[in-house]
Symmetry: C2
Subunit: 411 residues, 2 copies
């Protein structure tokens, strides 16, 4: 069964209009073995939406329209679908009483406009909205299923989950689609492809896609089978080969972020961490503390933007900064040793560099970053030259700092 | 002139497929007075793309297809467009020699597949690709313009900018579209709407949209006029009224982020800042140091995740933590005073709270955050209870800390 998603709303046709509902719906449909073949965005315009819906009816067995179910004149989805299908709208007393009750419970009187939301095309089912006034609508005609869902994700997602998934499971695809994402660090995209192309090329199923993300290469596998177990088995067969071939460069096989993996290793080995960062301005600490429970392994750190704070918070000798410059191998070394001592942590990490756009020189260009790691065995420092603009340099620096921790802790 | 954008690529129909090219193109087209009426995503499938392109030809005067111009069998955009338009593909010797030279300059031999990229539909113009091998294609037929662009943004964007914009300017819309975004903090969406609805309702042009973003409400205005100046004048007329009505809650009228605005105020007044943060784990520092030149106003800070580091890095008295708990008004107070003293900054900020999911209690629930600000005039502390999950609590806490700085520095 092939699906088409039509997102309705003029705001989605502006330069700011990202349609996240379609991504959510695609994931859910795929899990049921249903492929999405077209995603359409149309504005709040009667004739244009009519055209888009007629095209969809001609070519797709499952059509999901999102948005345009609100109480105002602009909200035309219900009307267009009723018109095109030739199913007149009738007021549904049960929906009406629910909307009225909802307003009562909020101690507000219902604006007359909201009555539109109690209109239902003849022969349609309505889907309860636990988080808003607009009910969803489910219509079947000549083997085609049409679903209308409200636009706000907090209304759409629970409605789809609790009402549409069970119905679709019944009528839906006989196949199941499962995906797996491997995250890779330390190899460029072309090298990843060179290594694994001989492995994945023989397979049509799973399908393999390689994506380049900031600081990470992702390999996406996507398998179809009669059951979830069989699809997982297909993923495992190719996936294990890919993981073996890429070896230590694979840091995650189940969607975990690099900071989650680092946190997991630190907790497993009961180690603690402190960070003194300059050019990354707190990004390494911020990423580590995104992980729930990070207080178990992360003690804290210093954001030593000024030289004064490098001295006061991380104990870097003033003479060293004077002699070598704030962006230097020895200062990175002193930052990681200093913060480790002050925090009494198992591991200390120090970063110093030039994120740009200003502050670079011929000798020390923008993108130059030193990262040091200290543990009981001593300190190692690596020098990097990251290309690109400020945020990219900062992100890559944080990524390589986390990678240095991962490597040290894993071994 | 109305446009339709068709993004081609099966990877765009997965749950991970965000189509950022269309947003970029929409912004550029709008600047030329061209409205985007449909955005379509279709997979690398001959029949389905044919159907989508035929629909577009029937209804749109400008059709832009992105992606599917690569060298492999999967890349079908060129073929489908040539077929539907009845314009046979012919090898273009000039394109061929450019592709060959590109490979030469990279010291690689050209795979025979890349020859496909030198094929051009009869009567079409080609557009030079400064960053890849696939040229763009420009075709005019019966008053309809069809443009084919490569998928990677680093190839598409410069190509569109240097080759398509000048051509579209000539044939394009007679109107110009300009937008303005007001960013608002400290008022809920419904309150913003209540205040400004009487102002914007009388205007069809500019059109007004209110969007809720994390920690911010945005009001988007969009004006059409015969010239950019007139469009700007329309934006100014309504925009000034809106800005006046929302007053100090408007922190940005030209797209600046809150951290940029805070940095601007600090630099203007030649003040410096240091931050001691616990629950936000470095997020406040990280946001401030995203701003280029932030070393002019941001000295640094302490990420005091553990109690030990609250004591060592920010000088919070151990007895205070013992007596009041790490998450308390007095510890926030001590953090901001302590970091201000250690950094010798004009302003100190301290944050402590419970981001969750663990660590909450009946008395001190998840979402409880204290934020303190110290300057020469003294210290003030605010108590917040942010709803939602960990990242949301952290983001809101950083947002309110920045807002407290903005208010203090602006006055």
């Amino acid at each position: 069964m092939d699906a088409e998603i039509i997102a309705v709303g003029s705001e989605l046709l502006t330069p700011f209009g990202t349609d996240t509902n379609s991504l959510y719906l695609t994931g859910k449909l795929n899990a049921l073995g249903i492929e999405v073949r077209y995603r359409i965005i149309a504005g709040d315009d009667h004739d244009r939406l009519t055209d888009a819906f007629q095209n969809a009816l001609r070519r797709s067995a499952l059509i999901i329209l999102t948005g345009g179910l609100g109480p105002t004149e602009d909200d035309i989805t219900r009307n267009v679908v009723a018109e095109v299908l030739g199913r007149p709208l009738r007021e549904n007393p049960e929906i009406r009483s629910r909307i009225e009750k909802r307003f009562e419970s909020l101690n507000r009187s219902m604006p007359p406009n909201n009555l539109r939301q109690s209109l239902l095309p003849e022969g349609a089912q309505w889907l309860e909205n636990a988080h808003g006034t607009a009910p969803g609508i489910w219509i079947e005609r000549d083997g085609v299923i049409v679903i209308l869902l409200p636009g706000p994700p907090r209304e759409l997602e629970p409605m789809f989950e609790s009402h549409c998934m069970p119905l679709l499971e019944r009528v839906g695809g006989k196949e199941r689609i499962r995906t797996r994402v491997y995250k890779i660090i330390g190899l460029p995209e072309s090298e990843v492809d060179r290594v694994i192309a001989p492995l994945y090329t023989p397979y049509q199923n799973p399908a393999t896609t390689i994506l380049s993300k900031p600081g990470t290469i992702e390999v996406h596998l996507r398998a179809r089978a009669a059951s979830e177990e069989e699809a997982e088995a297909l993923l495992g067969e190719l996936g294990d080969k890919i993981e073996l071939a890429l070896g230590e460069h694979v840091f995650s096989a189940h969607g975990e972020s690099l900071e989650e993996v680092v946190g997991m290793y630190l907790m497993m080995k009961q180690l603690t961490l402190a960070v003194a960062e300059s050019c990354t301005g707190g990004l390494v600490s911020e990423r580590l503390t995104r992980v729930p429970g990070s207080s178990n392994f992360f003690l804290g750190g210093a954001v030593c933007y000024s030289n004064e704070l490098k001295i006061r918070l991380a104990g870097v000798p003033a003479a060293l900064i004077e002699r070598e410059g704030a962006v230097s191998k020895t200062v990175a070394h002193a930052l990681s040793e200093g913060i480790r001592t002050r925090a009494a942590s198992s591991i200390g990490v120090g970063l110093t560099g030039i994120a740009g756009p200003g502050g670079g020189s011929a000798e020390k260009p923008v993108g130059l970053v030193f990262i040091a790691l200290t543990d009981a065995r001593g300190t190692s420092v690596r020098e990097f030259r990251f290309p690109g603009e400020r945020q990219r340099v900062r992100y890559w620096a944080s990524q390589m700092a986390l990678e240095m921790i991962r490597r040290r802790v894993r071994d």
